[in-house]
Symmetry: C2
């Protein structure tokens, strides 16, 4: 439909333009004309079920009694502040000053809040000015300091830190630089995986090499399987270039042991694979211990320098997860470890084409890696807020785990980290047939029924990948309260009863 002109305040001048050239108009762009990689890419977190949830939400808004529930429970995406999680006060107070430096002249805030804001303002000049494309030097120094402390002293160089617009921006940059656009570029990704990876690989025309995580061993890695896959990919003419690890795992909630990380680095060193270590959930640990890939690599290099000196690693972090949960602020960083300087220059060039990452997001990264310290005026409040969020995550994860453990036809691994559970739902042939008759996969059908009966929105395992013939759902444990978990349990029992085999 052509754009409609509703009024003409300048109708007189229009007349002079009634002459146009004589031509046959060309048709519009259609799906066959465009980038087929965009057409092919899929992104389940915001796919079929979440879209249906949006539809139901609108229905509830216009007619609150039209559905058997009062509201949509968004357990489909790790978006804590959508679900009433309060932001950390220290962050937001500092950020409010960065937006309006006149607040420095009021007595609203503690001294450490004002001092930090002043430091960041000195470094950025204004949050409205473009920064260096790699990120503000002051922030990169803070990040390096944080990493070095986290990794028990392993050196971190600020010149290897790139601030990014969330971690997804970092993933895209690594793929953009390292993948040549040829189909023979292979990328090892975990299955189940965060679907950003398959979507981004599809856009880059690369071949995903899925390595399966062992569900029965708390979704840990199987190094022999990965070794096999690398060999087999090569035999099919695929060159594995990158190995993606998500630790703590999304959607699995698993935390890798140091031993598992060491084995992965060995494979990478032997095969020249660049490791993307997606470590955005490093603060969300409930069980076990977080080891960064960087620290384990340093240990290996310390003992066997000649074998590990060529390992190249991009470690990603973000302000969206952890106890920060500042998803909408789009802060993140990437540390490039072991890359030649000519390759780092390419990352800088790529960053410069997008001018700079959002400056308030950069400031937030600084606040995340350098929170108030003991003795600072805001320290106790900040600690209390952090503890409250962390404890609530831990208790919700456990409550959910226990609720699922008691149900039949559902198997769940104990959550160790991140914000998710990825329970396996045992679905029989009756469900498979009914689902098929609706044109749905069995796990999609389960999720759709869950949504329609309870308002709970979760993502089918098929969006993340799963062993053929098994079915899962990914759910966050972020929604407030535990009432919704009870509703899910009730739904589950009724669903299983309804579709029981005769």
């Amino acid at each position: 439909m052509p754009a409609r002109v509703i009024t003409h305040t300048k109708s007189k001048t229009l007349k002079q333009f009634t002459q146009v050239r004589d031509f046959t108009p060309a048709p519009k762009v259609t799906l066959k004309d465009v980038n087929q990689h965009v057409v092919a890419a899929q992104y389940a977190v915001r796919g079929l079920i979440p879209m249906k949830a949006e539809e139901l939400r609108e229905k509830l808004t216009s007619d609150p009694d039209s559905l058997p529930f009062e509201s949509i429970i968004n357990a489909n995406i790790g978006n804590p502040q959508q679900l009433q999680q309060p932001p950390l006060s220290f962050y937001r107070e500092v950020l409010s000053i960065l937006q309006n430096p006149k607040l420095l002249e009021t007595d609203l805030y503690a001294n450490d809040v004002k001092e930090r804001a002043q430091k960041l303002l000195n470094a950025a000049q204004s949050v409205g000015a473009y920064s260096h494309s790699q990120g503000i030097a002051y922030v990169r120094h803070s990040v390096a300091h944080f990493i070095q402390k986290r990794d028990n002293g392993v050196f971190a160089d600020p010149s290897n830190i790139f601030l990014t617009t969330g971690a997804s921006d970092a993933v895209k940059a690594v793929l953009e630089v390292l993948l040549t656009g040829e189909k023979d570029n292979g990328v090892l990704i975990p299955i189940p995986q965060y679907p950003l990876y398959t979507a981004a690989l599809a856009l880059k025309n690369a071949t995903p090499i899925p390595y399966y995580l062992k569900e029965e061993q708390q979704w840990s890695t199987d190094i022999e399987h990965i070794d096999e896959l690398v060999k087999s990919a090569k035999s099919f003419g695929i060159t594995p270039k990158i190995l993606v690890v998500i630790n703590p795992g999304n959607p699995t909630g698993a935390v890798l042991t140091r031993e598992a990380i060491r084995e992965i680095i060995e494979v990478a060193a032997q095969n020249g694979l660049v490791i993307i270590a997606d470590e955005v959930y490093q603060e969300n640990i409930f069980d076990g211990e977080f080891f960064s890939f960087k620290s384990v690599l340093a240990e290996l290099q310390n003992e066997h320098a000649e074998k590990f000196e060529n390992v190249q690693l991009a470690s990603l972090h973000s302000t969206s997860k952890g106890v920060s949960g500042e998803c909408g602020q789009r802060g993140g960083y990437m540390e490039l470890v072991g890359f030649n300087s000519e390759i780092k220059q390419l990352f800088l060039k790529l960053a410069s084409i997008s001018l700079c990452p959002v400056v308030t997001g950069q400031a937030l990264v600084e606040l995340m890696v350098n929170p108030p310290k003991e003795g600072d005026e805001s320290y106790e409040r900040d600690q209390a807020e952090r503890k409250a969020i962390h404890d609530s995550y831990k208790s919700k994860a456990e409550a959910m785990y226990e609720a699922f453990s008691e149900l039949e036809n559902i198997e769940v691994q104990k959550p160790q980290g991140a914000m998710y559970l990825f329970p396996r739902i045992i679905l029989n042939d009756v469900v498979k047939e009914v689902a098929e008759s609706h044109g749905l996969k069995p796990d999609e059908f389960y999720c759709l029924r869950l949504l329609e009966e309870t308002g709970i929105c979760v993502v089918p395992g098929s969006g993340f990948g799963q062993v053929e013939g098994t079915f899962h759902v990914r759910t966050t444990f972020l929604p407030p309260g535990e009432e919704w978990i009870k509703h899910w349990a009730t739904f589950h029992k009724e669903f299983m009863h309804k579709y029981a085999e005769i």
Copy 2:
């Protein structure tokens, strides 16, 4: 160099990992292994001269008397707040509340500031929550309202508005969707152009089809030349798919007439070219009038629906320019006009892979398109601030134009809009030879000498494209005061004298 382990707090546990597999380590990634399009891409705005400027700035910091000037004057990039331009108070007050909603309870701000903040908070829930990938509905409605008013009532549909992370994000999205990755995809770009376009095209492996602007006619478009190029590209097996227009022009400062826009739309309609209308400088008009591509298209459609109903247009705007100048906040929007819904769905999918544009940037877009109105408490202050910035731009542009007009060996077009002048520098064979002996292009040499003698950092015309044998520089007129323009004039005279032909 392997990462160094400085301390070992866990040295006992390390011992168990001394066994590693037996393998020959693979080499590191080198330039020949990576994406050659990234290697090939060039981005002059942050290229050789700005990098040299950074070096000199550091030298001045460590030894303030080491150079013949006191500071670097960054006229290389349109970054107003780096150059002491104050942000608009209304924007920043609202944004400070979005970061810290407790400020609503204070009496620091006017009522319209608080009301707007409350509306945006209601719409976003929290600036720390992911929004809809296409952008917050409330903001998209405000944008549509703004466009409709700007275009004298031409209908704007909120569902066609995509909020973006600056306008560069929008450019990348359009290219990602429309270009197939084949070399035969042609994109018409103006010469001189903003080098983001050539860089982004290089990344997408597309073939730029440069159309030259007519310098002697205030850098306007030459439609016969564009027609010729489309034909000739086709005869070489290139399929022109996109036509980029920057209006007001960067780096030229030109403002297109309605007649020129009409002719461009005719070419697009005839040849099925999607128009990217980069209209980020639409507020920066000093001479002439801004006509949006959308409004001219609507006029044509109104009179000749059958000829123009298939025209597809992506119009870009940003919070970085205008009197807003909020570059670091990365706000922007794109209006997609005339696209089939299946194509719009691809844009939405692409946006969803990056989750969402920064939410504070989205809020800033809303503030830009919907500033305080007459009668609002903040109206007068806001108007006064806007007028001060606009007047200062206009007077600086004129001062610079006049200064250059009086000089020999420099030719300058009267600036009509944007933030730039693109004067032509007449360089003789002596300069060319000296430049060549330094491995530089003649305009690079001029810019480097200007930088080294005065601290003024501008970008050589070769980074934007120019007619073979002509030389230009792009300068913003943003640096405060007019003293620096005098220094430039003095430098210019001395340079021309020094390299005069004998």
